[in-house]
Amino acid sequence: MLKGQQSWIFKSRPTILASAAVGGPFEAKGALAEDFDILHKDIWLGQDSFEKAEKIILEHACERAIKKSGVKKEDIQFFISGDLMDQIISSSFTARTLGIPYFGIFGACSSSMEGLALAALMIESRAAKYVVAAAGSHNAAAEKQFRYPTEYGGQKPPTSQWTVTGAGAVVLGENGEGPKVTSATIGRVIDMGISDPYNMGGAMAPAAVDTLEAHFRDLNIDPSYYDLIATGDLGKVGHEVAKKLLFKDGIEMPLEIFKDCGLLIYKSDQPVFSGGSGCGCSATVTYGHLLNRMRRGELKKILIVATGALMSPLSYQQKESIPCIAHAVSIEM
């Protein structure tokens, strides 16, 4: 049901029946290693390209989530997925493997929550009984596509971020035990004119703030309604910008509940510059770590604001600025 300008309230409270997170070797050394279902030791995953490895990671996340949910694959109506590769091949090839009717979405790193919001809307409107939503990314594949191939050895400034090698998936259903998706706010595209692909966090922060403010306004609630509000992958630089923008706009954001998935996933001694990023960042942290904490009863109400930078390698080469977006989804126990 539409609420306010750009938010949906899900009265039927679609249930996250199961979720899964899959990561790579760098994530295995990170701060949230225990919350991953599968951790791969090899960045290649035995494949001969990083793109193929990314597809395998996404497949593993989906298959594990479906298995954990106990729902039969043929009973699932739709699969919604996004990733960072050209023409979202990882998602489409995973859909080929799964054989579930498929919506491919592209919201860059916001794809995780874009997918979850649409999946919840389908359940809410009774367009589906079960939906799988997923998103994934691969560090080396993303570096190759958006920046330089890793072996080229180009220098990175401190504002740059580390793309997460990982994928997260959820199985959403009408009824059952588990965390409930209660609302979603769909973001506008915000472009503040930043064109540096090594400062995505700074570019995306205004989009995250815009969506957060829209969420609080549409639902007529305060940030303190939530136990935790996590942005997707703003990193140190972007998260600071977001805090300042919220403060400037008079939003009273309790700093102890305001987190960023890109800052949660790695340990402080890992060389990730400003923090983690990528579709897999918000997907693995939310579908692994945060949902686990909800199931343990440590968190009751959370809001995830997945942020995405909607540029392409071509638009960057043509010196276009980076349009950014953020989608917020609230999950409650």
Binding site: S49, F50, A140, E143, K144, Y148, P149, T150, E151, Y152, G154, Q155, P157, D196
Partner: protein, 117 residues
């Protein structure tokens, strides 16, 4: 001992210039390298690079700007001997050792290691 000192200062300065070009102008590493090659070529055209090599030794001959110097030096040398056509035949004469070794060692490395990422 003096040459070591100046090699350090001049070589370091060229690298600092490269780093500043990359950080301030926000251009790619490849563009930065090309810029240094062009600067070296221009200095060679005015006959300024060889004195720099004499003064700072490896400090001036190791950085990529020395490649620009080698290209122009070769072109000028052949131009003196054979005229206009020498500009074209001479460009790679001095630099050929560098270019050929890059190809050969690149080839060997590609055979031993996986050359794609």
């Amino acid at each position: 001992m003096g040459i070591f000192f100046w090699a350090f200062i001049i070589g370091g300065t060229i690298c600092v210039i490269g780093q500043l070009i990359m950080d301030i102008l926000k251009i790619t590493p490849a563009h930065t390298t090309c810029t240094l090659v062009v600067i070296g070529a221009i200095l060679a055209g005015f006959g300024l690079y060889d004195p720099l090599v004499k003064f700072a030794g490896a400090g001036a001959s190791i950085p990529i700007s020395s490649f620009g110097n080698a290209l122009v030096k070769g072109a000028l040398m052949d131009a003196k001997q054979t005229g206009f056509i020498g500009v074209f035949t001479g460009v790679f004469k001095v630099a050929s050792a560098g270019i050929s070794s890059a190809m050969v060692f690149g080839f060997i490395a590609a055979i031993i290691f996986k050359p794609k990422g």
